[in-house]
Amino acid sequence: MSTDVDVVIVGAGPVGLFAVFACGQLGMRAAVIDALADPGGQLTALYPEKPIYDIPGRPQVRADRLVSDLVEQAAPYRPAYLLGQEARSLSEDPCGVFSVETSKGESVRARAVVIAAGAGAFGPNRPPLKDIRDYETTSVFYHVAQRDRFSGKRLVIAGGGDSAVDWALSLAEVAQEVTVIHRRDKFRAHPANVAAMSAHPNINILTKHQLVDLKGSNGTLEGIGVGRIGGETTVLEADVLLALFGLASDISVLRDWDIAIEGKVLPVSAETCQTSRDGVFAIGDIAHYPGKLKLILTGFAEASLAAHSAHQRVFPGKAIHSEYSTTRGVPGSSENPVLQSA
């Protein structure tokens, strides 16, 4: 399916969400693509319950509350959200209209692209084991899509959080045996579930150990090398590995977008937030220029700047009537005059 908007925003973190509003204020409708199933980026994925103290006008705000407020603030401009799918490729037709394709086969067409991708798209935090990708469709997994897949298997679960403990308990009912590998004795999980796991006859727990390597060939796992931290390595016979180490971010997909990348950031003009490619802007943590501060508030300002820059491309030659939000209002607002609809 294809969605046509004025601006496509890559990344639904706080800065991407505010970019929806900033574009809306200038009469541009946006679509937002994010690999996560929910908006909020790092605030949702890494620290939803932590308080943030450096948002102007908000002496203290929990990260998840800031996200829900930003979603609410953007809502009058009717953004199209394409969540749970990664922006994959960028193309441009001869008329200068961009198309961004997602990992779910959706495409978004727009005259401007705003990359607000933070540290990159979130995906599984993959253990750096040799050849691990060769096993990923057959015997190494990062989440449980179907419990049946583990039926009768010798399963190793690596990780020490709630998901490791909960899945150990659940899959112990169908797997031949379950071994949980964790680096320390303490689990970051509900104590009652940890106690149930410890007492379960079909679950072995191996603490103070970590993954070392995978044994097998052609995508078929035969064993998993595990090492005592700072000590000797042994091999566990295993058919399946479930590696539960949370999320990690990755910007590698942007390498094929024909924009300059330095390390993990995109150099932009501080005046326009435009990357090395015309019509493609970058804001927030992923954007870099001399003197850059990696703060949410800097990203908010960059969102506004990029919206103004994008406007020149979306509506060439059209002047921006300068107006404050106090008089411009937002669509549907009862208190402010609605002078511009999205």
């Binding site: 790092q42 540290a119 750096p128 990780g159 070392v212 931290i229 700072g230 993990k264």
Partner: protein, 102 residues
């Protein structure tokens, strides 16, 4: 002040370190690590191995730091997050190593 870092290839570098900065900031500014969450204990991208002789002088690891070390790889007995180690008279000259594949 300075820190001495051993890279994954075994070579060592001495880095000038401003008092009050974290070891993460010094390593990041030298282009050696990512320090993705900027020291907010929300990632493990600044994981280092602290030299054993220095490790005891650093004191206890906080529970938040332990939680993030749970999602780090290539751990050693002296694994720490370098964003939690600050440069000062007690840590001047500290030796750390970037984790290498095991």
């Amino acid at each position: 002040m300075e820190i001495i870092v051993t890279l994954a290839d075994g070579s060592s570098r001495t880095l000038v370190a401003g008092e009050g900065l974290s070891v993460m900031e010094v390593l990041r500014d030298a282009g050696l690590i990512e320090g993705e969450c900027n020291g907010s204990l929300a990632c493990a991208s600044c994981h280092v191995w602290v030299d054993e002789a220095w490790n005891e002088s650093l004191g206890e690891t906080s529970e938040d730091e332990e939680d993030m070390l749970d999602v780090a790889f290539n751990l050693a007995p002296t694994s720490r997050l370098s964003c939690q180690i600050f440069i000062g008279p007690a840590t001047n000259g500290i030796r750390v190593a970037l984790p290498k594949a095991i």
